[in-house]
């Protein structure tokens, strides 16, 4: 356990220079954006004087080094600054929007894994069968349909034509109250409060955007599961296990699947990160109050604090995610942290 603990500690320590780098780069990149936030925020009828007034009030008239110093000071106090375009502290915006995006993304990923992993395993064990063909069809459809198109199609069919889906108006319909805020995940918060009516309402709203994203993420997971299973099934240790007369179920799940999981988990990490990005369009279609649309809008109007806060929180999230994936390795692969890795 000692070697494993050290390896994990080392992973965490590696995150610190990464985060500092992200802080410096996001600060410099936002300043390098071509737009002038003072001109943007001075409003429709700005005069040169009023633009200067705004520049001073936003602290943009100070030298870059001093601005960076002030920014670091703010960060040390846990303050990500105030977004000019939304008028809210960036921290509270992120706190309310990040869970919305994460809930949607995780829901979609779970949905997608629940379909893709069994499908991949089945396709690998029966190459060329109808399951394999179905897997190929789904994978092709999933990659080739853009998320916003799938989203609009689902809204059109299930909400507009059939009327069985709830109105695509964000996380909850008007009938429901937001559950008391604990984690920001409506499904968890509603369950904690024992409010199953709201829980069901939140689930209903999640289904269409969740399916949209799940269709999109199905492809890489199913493909990777199939490929990893195929290579595991043809490996020597599986042949040995079979030759030793182990039960087929034991061979398949105990040896082949466990080894195939490593690349699948790696893929899951990558899929998670690009789905968080791909979220933007789905969030727009379903009026989902997530982080994607927030970041895009902040970028368009050169809202420095919001962009930096977004980049920083994403960096934190990914450092955390990679750590989690490494930890998952350590569970799946007993060699983790030993010199033999």
């Amino acid at each position: 356990m000692g070697a494993r603990g050290t390896a994990i500690g080392l992973r965490i320590a590696q995150a610190i220079p990464v985060l500092f780098g992200v802080i410096v780069i996001s600060f410099l990149l936002t300043r390098a954006l071509p737009g002038d936030p003072a001109a943007q925020f001075a409003g429709a009828m700005a005069t040169p004087e009023s633009i200067e007034q705004v520049r001073t009030s936003l602290g943009l008239d100070k030298p870059l080094v001093q601005q960076f110093g002030l920014y670091l000071g703010q960060l040390a106090r846990g303050d990500l600054g105030q977004s000019v375009s939304t008028g809210q502290p960036v921290v509270s915006e992120l706190a309310s929007r990040l869970p919305a995006s994460l809930e949607l993304t995780l829901f979609a990923l779970i949905l997608s894994c629940a379909v893709a992993i069994p499908l991949g395993v089945l396709a690998a064990t029966r190459p060329g069968s109808w399951v394999d063909q179905l897997c190929r069809l789904l994978v092709t459809a999933g990659v080739s349909l853009p998320t916003f198109f799938t989203g609009i199609m689902l809204v059109y069919v299930f909400y507009y034509l059939l009327g069985i889906a709830p109105s695509p108006l964000g996380r909850l319909d008007f009938i429901y109250l937001d559950p008391p805020h604990v984690t920001g995940f409506f499904l968890i918060d509603a369950a904690l409060a024992g409010d199953w009516e709201t829980w069901f309402g939140a689930l209903r709203q999640l289904i269409l955007p969740g399916v949209t994203l799940a269709l999109f993420t199905l492809a890489p997971i199913a493909r990777m599961t199939r490929a990893a299973m195929l290579s595991a099934l043809s490996a020597d240790y599986v042949r040995t296990a079979r030759a030793a007369g182990l039960a087929p179920r034991k061979v398949l799940y105990g040896y082949a699947f466990r080894n195939a999981l490593l690349p699948v988990v790696t893929t899951l990490g990558m899929v998670f990160s690009f789905v968080l990005g791909a979220n933007v369009l789905v969030e727009k279609v379903f009026a989902w109050p997530g982080i994607g649309s927030y970041a895009v809008e902040a970028l368009v109007v050169s809202d420095y604090a919001a962009v930096q806060g977004f980049v920083l929180s994403m960096a934190l999230l990914f450092v955390l995610l990679n750590l989690l994936i490494d930890l998952a390795y350590s569970v799946i692969d007993p060699r983790f942290g030993t010199s033999a890795k």
Binding site: G35, A39, A44, A46, S57, L177, A287
Partner: protein, 533 residues
């Protein structure tokens, strides 16, 4: 616990009192609650704050009173519109103007703020002081009406408020009816002010403390805004809806599905394309925006465009009708092919140019560039819905007279800097609409040297003089009309801006009535009522 809270809400016992209320969609149809969707984000409840966006002006309109407001008239394109020609009392009961036009004395109505305290002239003074002091947009807008310093405002007694002007101006009273000079509960605001924040910017950013028709009871930034009716509003007839929910729905396709199915009553500010298609099924109001023009601007400090004949040649070759159909789906009002002679002061007006390639060739031949030239046509990516089709059609058309145009797309915040602040784009598309609906006000912003919307760097001494003379002059002054007509003549002769069309504000309505168009292009919820009423 929350189940019992909802049961309590469902009984309706808390309809007016609970700040966290959500209406049942069924109740939305019953006439008590209106649900409206828009793609815009409201980013503050306080218009005076730096960075407050256009969508937020709706809060100033619906939750606060001004001293005066505009009347109502029939709008072109159906429905109602504000009427710039009539001023009506809102918080002021009456007003008098001194003979020299320098002092306006208001008598206030017996109104109360939403916390029950009476509205006094001191509140009005504090609110006006705030607007002229905080800087940025509110201060600039106040200045347009000649309201620049706190010492111009005086609270004589509880019911009498006096504005002293430096010079008489026809813009002063209308400027008090725009969203900016809204009346705040000064006592409550001061109670929440700090030494660093004497104008209570933080508090007002999140609270509406006015005497207006509604108050905001819930604001989830980026998601929704919930208005509750003020039962004791005296600024006008008490509105029909007890509650109005504004939901943000960025996707136009989703907005359409919602309003078509009747789950929401109003889809506000929808794209021209959707408006054109929805018009067969629902009530769609497409009101041409007053004093607003989409223009093709030719920057007069760049070489080929210093030549008047080049500018006229371009004006004669622009495919106006095709642009109007492709970029606006025929929504709005054409601004080309007008009479050559100017006989009235109507604005926006049709330019005397129309698509006429033969004439364009003549102008090119007469110019210093008979063989044409190359230039760049710039557009903003966030306004691409109208700029892109317009730019492509212009590119194609000017090629016929030997002008090779390269399209340049400039993103978001940078567009504003490049086009309006630095004014460094040779040929570009632009639109400007003035709140104070007179031609001289438009000229002040768009044709005077160095002014923000003069993105063509236009300068003409006579236009400068005429604009300055007419800006504050009363419209019934005998000198007014001739000077304005002269301004128009020069503008169409010099042609730094080629008018294309007047854009429309599109609103689809399903199950509500009483929609009224306003110059600020935000939804005024006060006049809306259920369709059956």
């Amino acid at each position: 616990m929350s189940t019992t809270r909802r049961t309590f809400l469902k009984t309706g016992a808390a309809i007016t009192a609970m700040p966290f209320i959500h209406a049942l969609p069924a109740a939305a149809g019953s006439g008590d609650t209106l649900v409206a969707v828009t793609a815009q984000t409201i980013n503050s409840l306080d218009l005076h704050r730096t960075g407050t966006n256009r969508a937020s002006y709706a809060v100033a309109i619906n939750c606060y009173d001004r001293l005066v407001t505009f009347g109502t008239k029939e709008a072109p394109g159906g429905g109602l519109s504000y009427d710039y020609a009539t001023l009506e009392p809102e918080l002021a009961e009456s007003w008098t103007i001194s003979d020299d036009g320098m002092v306006i004395t208001f008598t206030l109505k017996d109104a109360t703020f939403q916390d029950g305290s009476p509205v006094t002239a001191e509140d009005v003074k504090w609110s006006f002081d705030r607007a002229v002091t905080v800087g940025g947009f509110p201060t600039v807008q106040m200045k347009a009406g000649g309201l620049e310093r706190p010492d111009q405002f005086e609270a004589v007694d509880a019911k009498t408020f006096v504005v002293k002007l430096d010079r008489p101006s026809k813009l002063s009273l209308p400027d008090l009816a725009v969203p900016v000079p809204f009346i705040i509960n000064a006592t409550l605001a001061k109670a929440n002010a700090t030494a660093d924040d004497p104008w209570a910017m933080e508090y007002l950013h999140k609270n509406t403390i006015g005497s207006g028709a509604y108050k905001v009871t819930r604001w989830d930034a980026g998601q929704q805004l919930v208005y509750e009716r003020n039962e004791s509003w005296v600024g006008g007839p008490v509105p029909s809806y007890a509650r109005v929910i504004m939901r943000e729905v960025p996707s136009a396709a989703t907005q359409r599905a919602l309003v078509e199915r009747g789950d929401v009553q109003v889809a506000f500010d929808i794209p021209d394309k959707d408006a054109a298609e929805l018009a067969d099924k629902l009530t769609v109001y497409s009101t041409p925006v007053e004093n607003c023009i989409h223009t093709l601007c030719l920057n007069t400090i760049f070489e080929p465009f210093r030549d008047t004949n080049v500018r006229k040649a371009i004006a004669a070759v622009v495919p106006y009708e095709a642009i109007f159909q492709a970029a606006a789906y025929g929504r709005g009002a054409p601004l080309w092919g007008g009479p050559a002679e100017i006989t009235d002061t109507a604005w926006p007006r049709k330019s005397p140019y129309a698509t006429d390639p033969a004439t364009a060739q003549e102008f090119v031949a007469a110019s210093a560039y008979p063989d044409g030239f190359e230039t760049t046509l710039s557009i903003a990516t966030d306004l691409a819905s109208w700029m892109e089709p317009a730019a492509l059609l212009i590119q194609e058309a000017v090629a016929k007279i030997g002008i090779t145009v390269e399209l340049e797309k400039i993103p978001g915040a940078n567009w504003r800097t490049a086009s309006l602040v630095e004014k460094r784009l040779p040929m570009h598309l632009e639109n400007f609409g003035g709140w104070l609906n007179t031609p001289d006000y438009y000229f002040f912003w768009a044709y005077q040297k160095d002014h923000l919307f003069n993105s063509s760097n236009y300068f003409n001494e006579e236009v400068e003089a005429l604009t300055n003379e007419t800006l504050h002059m009363a419209m019934d002054d005998p000198e007014y009309a001739p000077k304005i007509k002269r301004m128009f003549e020069i503008a169409f002769e010099d042609l730094p801006r080629i008018p294309l069309y007047q854009p429309a504000l599109n609103v689809a309505v399903n199950g509500a009535s009483g929609y009224e168009f306003w110059f600020h292009r935000q939804l005024d919820i006060r006049s809306l009522s259920p369709a059956s009423a």
